[in-house]
């Protein structure tokens, strides 16, 4: 028993070190968001004169409110579209007898891992030609295509694990294929849908290079681009940046906490079980 206790002690110390490794930079970000203009240039661990002026500055002197709204609109629309399209595609690839399913799944995996730089220039030209630069729909379309492949992977892996008996009885009851998917399959695949949803939302919320390329006005700029362009050429307003960052982190942190299990199982089934 003593040996076991010693083992636990070692594990707990290691766990505390890991937690510190992860949490300290995050703490530094939040603490710095509350430092005033003078203290931001000091390495004080606790803000000596805590202030909320950085937060009001982000909203009043910079257009952070607009960026927040833009990111929310784009991320929500992308997530809804990806889930709607991805659910049916994932179901078909899991259950229905189509030729070339292996090839499609392999291609989707490769596309989801492709460096985004390979698509930005043609995407820019494509969206410019249809007049969708600097618009919500342009970014939503790009993100939907970018994030669908991985979402289809996650969803398909969930559908494969659902017993077929349910669909059979729905079919016997005379439900059409669309109704079967929406009313019978979807409720059972809910954890998978949450996982795909959280992954898509996080990806859309954090994406940088496409947003940087497609939107060059403040009106449609999203948070990552907005924060990257804060400040002038010679000064970086770190207090304001971290105040904005802390606000931007909040919805994602809540989402991850609420759907923690779904995210972890997504990493499990989406990536490993394959």
């Amino acid at each position: 028993m003593a040996r076991r206790r010693k083992k636990n002690l070692g594990t707990n110390i290691a766990a505390i070190l890991i937690a510190a490794f992860v949490a300290l930079p995050l703490y530094w970000m939040v603490a710095s968001a509350f430092k005033n203009q003078i203290d931001i240039s000091s390495a004080a661990a606790v803000p000596p004169h805590p202030t909320t002026s950085n937060f009001s500055n982000a909203f009043s002197n910079y257009s952070f409110g607009t960026y927040l709204l833009n990111s929310a609109v784009v991320a929500v629309c992308t997530t809804v579209l990806v889930l709607a399209l991805g659910t049916f595609a994932g179901y078909a690839l899991a259950r229905l007898p189509m030729r070339g399913k292996t090839a499609i799944m392999t291609a989707l995996l490769m596309i989801s891992l492709f460096p985004t730089i390979a698509v930005v220039a043609p995407l820019y030209l494509l969206l410019r030609d249809i007049g969708w630069l600097n618009s919500y729909q342009g970014l939503v379309l790009a993100y939907t295509a970018l994030m669908l492949p991985f979402a289809i992977w996650i969803l398909r892996n969930y559908f494969v694990g659902i017993p077929k008996a349910m669909e059979e009885s729905a079919r016997v009851d005379g439900a059409g294929p669309v109704r079967t998917v929406v009313q019978v399959i979807l409720p059972q695949a809910l954890p998978g849908v949450f996982t795909a949803g959280v992954f898509t939302f996080v990806a859309a919320w954090t994406e940088f290079i496409i947003a940087l390329t497609l939107d060059n006005t403040d009106r449609y700029r999203t948070i990552p681009v907005g924060i990257a362009l804060f400040g002038g050429q010679f000064t970086t307003p770190y207090g304001t940046i971290f105040a904005a960052s802390a606000v931007a982190m909040l919805p994602i942190a809540l989402l991850v906490l609420i759907f923690r299990r779904a995210v972890v199982s997504g990493l499990t089934s989406g990536a490993v079980k394959g």
Binding site: L96, M98, T106, P115, P177, F242, L267
Partner: protein
């Protein structure tokens, strides 16, 4: 055997359907369900990739309202391959990718082993680990730029306290690359840890138990039994990380601006700068397309080697 093959169903006309006909109609249904998603992906992801490759082999004339492609040429690639900057950026991206992925895999596996044995507060630690993963990369780049700042960064303050002065982390090529690697490791190791943990949890307990009964100690069990069994999970994590790291863009764009000089410039950053700052669409497309081809080849190699883990789809 799929559900649609259930025999004895009647169609609208009351005739019993033949199996082949049923199969065909449900295959049609499958394509009907899948095609909206696949069309979007084809139009907005695959077409641009192909277009990048075409553009990289074309004369690109920039005109007032855009540009025109005319004629096939190898000029873009000869510009690229004749440029020391391209070779430097390729070398940097490859070395950076290999180093960060090796460190992430080792640290990630260690963290996963701790998580597996942890009894209290495991869920909370997992939630905490997901935070860097979900953080906007631009934000983490700003955060680390602040930490490394040569005038008031906490990093210098710590080193000053132990007697090391005048560090200029982001101003020295090797140190800047390492500093960026640390920021990368901080953000992505938790992701690796959770993927590896998933693999650990799925290991068959009996095998480890059998080794224990045979008198193997914990160390031997880890190296000889668990690690080999874990290989597929590790391989998938390695593939994900290598390919993501190879597209490195956000971090150098914000943290080091590719500098000092172009010492920490990744291929993606080079491609972006050539395309959108220099407006050299031909050579820019060549950077983008050649990066994509490298990723494609690495991906295919991985899939070939680990076919059984990643590729077995047909049921």
């Amino acid at each position: 055997m799929t559900v649609i093959d259930t025999p004895g169903r009647l169609d609208a006309g009351g005739r019993p359907r033949r199996r082949g006909e049923l199969r065909r109609s449900s295959a049609r249904l499958g394509w009907g369900f899948a095609s909206p998603a696949l069309l979007v992906i084809a139009a907005v992801m695959i077409f641009p990739i192909v277009f990048s490759i075409v553009m990289s082999f074309s004369h690109v004339n920039v005109t007032g309202n855009g540009f025109q492609l005319s004629g096939v040429t190898g000029r873009n690639y000869s510009i690229l391959f004749g440029s020391p900057r391209y070779w430097h950026d390729l070398e940097f991206t490859v070395i950076y990718t290999l180093c960060t992925v090796v460190v992430e895999m080792i640290l990630g596996t260690l963290i996963a082993l701790v998580l597996e044995r942890l009894t209290a507060a495991r869920g909370w630690l997992m939630a905490l680990l997901l935070m860097p993963w979900a953080l906007i990369t631009v934000v983490s780049a700003d955060l680390w730029a602040y930490v490394y700042n040569g005038v008031y960064g906490v990093f210098d303050a710590i080193f000053n306290a132990v007697g090391v002065h005048d560090l200029n982390v982001l101003g020295t090529p090797t140190q800047a690359a390492i500093a960026m690697g640390v920021a990368d490791v901080w953000k992505t190791t938790p992701f690796v840890a959770i993927m590896v943990l998933a693999g650990l949890v799925m290991l068959p307990g009996e095998v480890v138990e059998a080794a224990r009964i045979d008198g193997a100690n914990g160390w031997t069990i880890f190296w000889k039994v668990r690690l080999p069994l874990l290989r597929p999970a590790l391989a998938v994590a390695v593939m994900f990380r290598i390919l993501q790291a190879f597209g490195l863009f956000d971090l150098p764009y914000v943290l080091t601006h590719g500098g000092p000089g172009t010492s920490t410039e990744s291929l993606a950053l080079l491609g972006y700068r050539v395309l959108f700052n220099d407006l050299e669409f031909g050579p820019g497309a060549a950077v983008a397309a050649s990066t994509a081809v490298i990723v494609l080849v690495v991906c295919l190699l991985f899939l070939k080697v680990f076919r059984t883990q990643v590729g077995e789809q047909e049921d």
